[in-house]
């Protein structure tokens, strides 16, 4: 376990709990999760669908107010309802660029909206700068999402997150809807932007290889709980000890009949 003092952390999460439903249908989607993210670090959260990793991101960025626990971001304790200034510091990039962009808003409208909300004046200059930053260029300014490829759309979604110049970027499966060759471009872009802008990131993914490529530390989740936190170097040395992490690691390498036969035994009816 890597223990990092929470007082220096950019993001500190203590005993975060999120539940949905009530009575017999009560589901603890996130069940007492704690972790810290250092300034400038990219922290990975991996686990299978339904393990609560995206729910954590939604609670952190204020999309779900029904959580309990202690969350501080940039030294400030979070309350369920967020202020406008919070969103100047924390932004999110969503999984599906086909769903996260308004189909009838041009690139310009999409990028102007956050500036209007926050009363920022130098829109022209900022839009040009951010479009260059994400590798689209000013020529894309008056296009509609349907005129963009999947990779270009995700670049636009990243531009929208960056236009307010946030310190924290929350990435929810930013490449899982993209082809592998496009995924490489977006991952390279994220690495580049993170270094240039000094961003602190949390990357949620089901793909262990993507997390291992982007992050230095990661947390492995299952059924709403953090099973273990480990440095990515442990994955590289093939030394994780938790059986679930080992299972994820083996599965990320492809199909293996021998491993699969033990997996078949585990199926519940």
């Amino acid at each position: 376990m890597t223990d990092i003092p929470s007082e220096n952390a950019m993001i500190s999460v203590r005993d975060l709990r999120v539940s949905f439903g009530s009575g017999a249908g009560l589901v603890h989607a996130v069940d007492g999760v704690s972790f810290n993210v250092q300034p400038g670090e990219t922290y990975g959260l991996v686990g299978e669908s339904g393990c609560g990793k995206s729910t954590i991101l939604r609670a952190l960025c204020g999309l779900n107010p029904n959580w309990s626990g202690d969350v501080t971001i940039g030294g400030e304790a979070m309350t369920p309802v967020r202020t406008r200034s919070f969103y100047r510091r924390v932004q999110m990039v969503f999984q599906d660029p086909y769903g996260s962009l308004h189909p009838r808003h041009t690139v310009n409208t999409t990028l102007t909206e956050p500036l209007k909300i926050h009363g920022i004046g130098d829109a022209d200059e900022r839009i040009t700068r951010v479009l260059v930053q994400v590798g689209l260029g000013p020529a894309f300014r008056y296009r509609y999402p349907h005129q963009l490829s999947g990779g270009q759309r995700q670049r636009l979604a990243i531009a929208r997150a960056l236009i307010l110049e946030p310190q924290v970027l929350l990435l929810d499966e930013p490449t899982s809807a993209l082809d592998v060759s496009v995924q490489a471009e977006i991952l390279n872009l994220l690495v580049d932007l993170r270094e240039r802008l000094g961003l602190t990131c949390i990357l949620v993914s089901h793909d262990l290889a993507v997390v291992a490529h982007m992050c230095d530390r990661l947390g492995v989740m299952n059924a709403g709980k953090m099973l273990e936190e480990l440095p990515v170097s442990a994955l590289e040395d093939d030394s994780p000890t938790h059986p679930y992490t080992r299972q994820l690691l083996a599965a990320s390498l492809g199909y293996d009949r021998r491993l699969a036969s033990t997996a078949v035994e585990d199926i519940e009816g």
């Binding site: 082809d179 995924q183 291992a212 490529h213 230095d216 590289e236 994820l248 492809g254």
Partner: protein, 280 residues
């Protein structure tokens, strides 16, 4: 692995008429499938799914299919009528779709859906049908078939739903299975279980499998042979075990663009598409 081919495809073309222009989605694809696992990999829009659909004549109405030869065992698919295809689809060639959520009927119990796939035999009683369904659920490693039999699709997990689809497809004992991204909606550990079931079926029942996927690692480790498609053509064909030594620059580019454990702090190679690949 490649004894008598079950399926022979020669110079297959699929074209779509759109209001703007003609889209040539599959441009002269030729391959054969025996009792083996053949992977078709490619990125979105490469024509891999349309190739699979053309074999079953499931091309959407605005598309036209032409081929020099499209032969399944003794049947000439290219010249077969819709009536003849009805006898082939689901009974001799089956297709497993990507997402069980959309492919299963939401208002029909699992058992009844699987029973629907039993080939028409009026002599079978309800009890006999139920026994067949139970046996098939067990064959796809569902531990409590009696319970699952009476569930609705929304009450089962994704992995279970995919196994139910496989059970349904196998009811008629097909000779060829076309699986279009059968595991991309599944979690990695569940994916292994579903693949193991498919793997055993190919080995034990001796059926042929066309496995359509965008996941190079998976295809390299799961299939026997791999066809790599780019812009409607097969640009390379190789034994799955040799995929890492692929020669075509497109395949090499795809392999190099994959992040892997150990590639931290390195820049990923970005694929530079060469217009010449469209023609060779």
């Amino acid at each position: 692995m490649n004894q008598t081919p079950q399926l022979l495809v020669e110079d297959l073309h699929v074209r779509f008429r759109t209001p703007q222009r003609m889209v040539h989605a599959v441009r002269g694809v030729s391959f054969s499938v025996g009792r083996e696992k053949v992977g078709i990999v490619g990125e979105s829009g490469s024509g891999k799914s349309q190739t699979g659909r053309a074999i079953l004549k499931l091309t959407p109405p605005n598309g036209t299919v032409s081929a020099k030869r499209l032969q399944f065992q003794e049947l000439d698919i290219a010249g077969a009528s819709e009536r003849e295809m009805l006898k082939v689809r689901g009974s001799r060639i089956s297709m497993i779709m990507q997402d069980p959520k959309y492919a299963l009927d939401p208002v029909m119990r699992v058992g009844a859906q699987i029973a629907e796939a039993i080939p028409e035999k009026p002599s079978l009683s309800a009890a006999e049908k139920r026994d067949k369904v139970m046996a098939m659920l067990e064959a796809v490693h569902i531990r409590n078939p009696a319970r699952v039999h009476d569930l609705y699709p929304h009450e089962v997990s994704g992995g279970m739903g995919q196994r139910i689809m496989i059970a349904m497809m196998l009811m008629a004992d097909p000779d060829l299975l076309i699986a279009d991204e059968p595991t991309s909606a599944l979690d990695v550990t569940v994916r292994m279980q579903v693949l193991a079931i498919l793997d055993d079926l190919v080995t034990r029942r001796g059926l042929g499998l066309i496995f359509i996927s965008h996941d190079l690692n998976l295809v390299a480790t799961f299939c026997d042979r791999v066809l790599i498609m780019y812009a409607g053509r097969i640009v390379e064909e190789c034994a799955a075990a040799d995929l890492q030594n692929a020669k075509h620059p497109y395949t090499r580019g795809l392999l190099a663009s994959l992040p892997r454990i150990g590639s931290r702090h390195q820049k990923l190679a970005v694929l530079n598409r060469d217009p010449a690949w469209l023609n060779d």
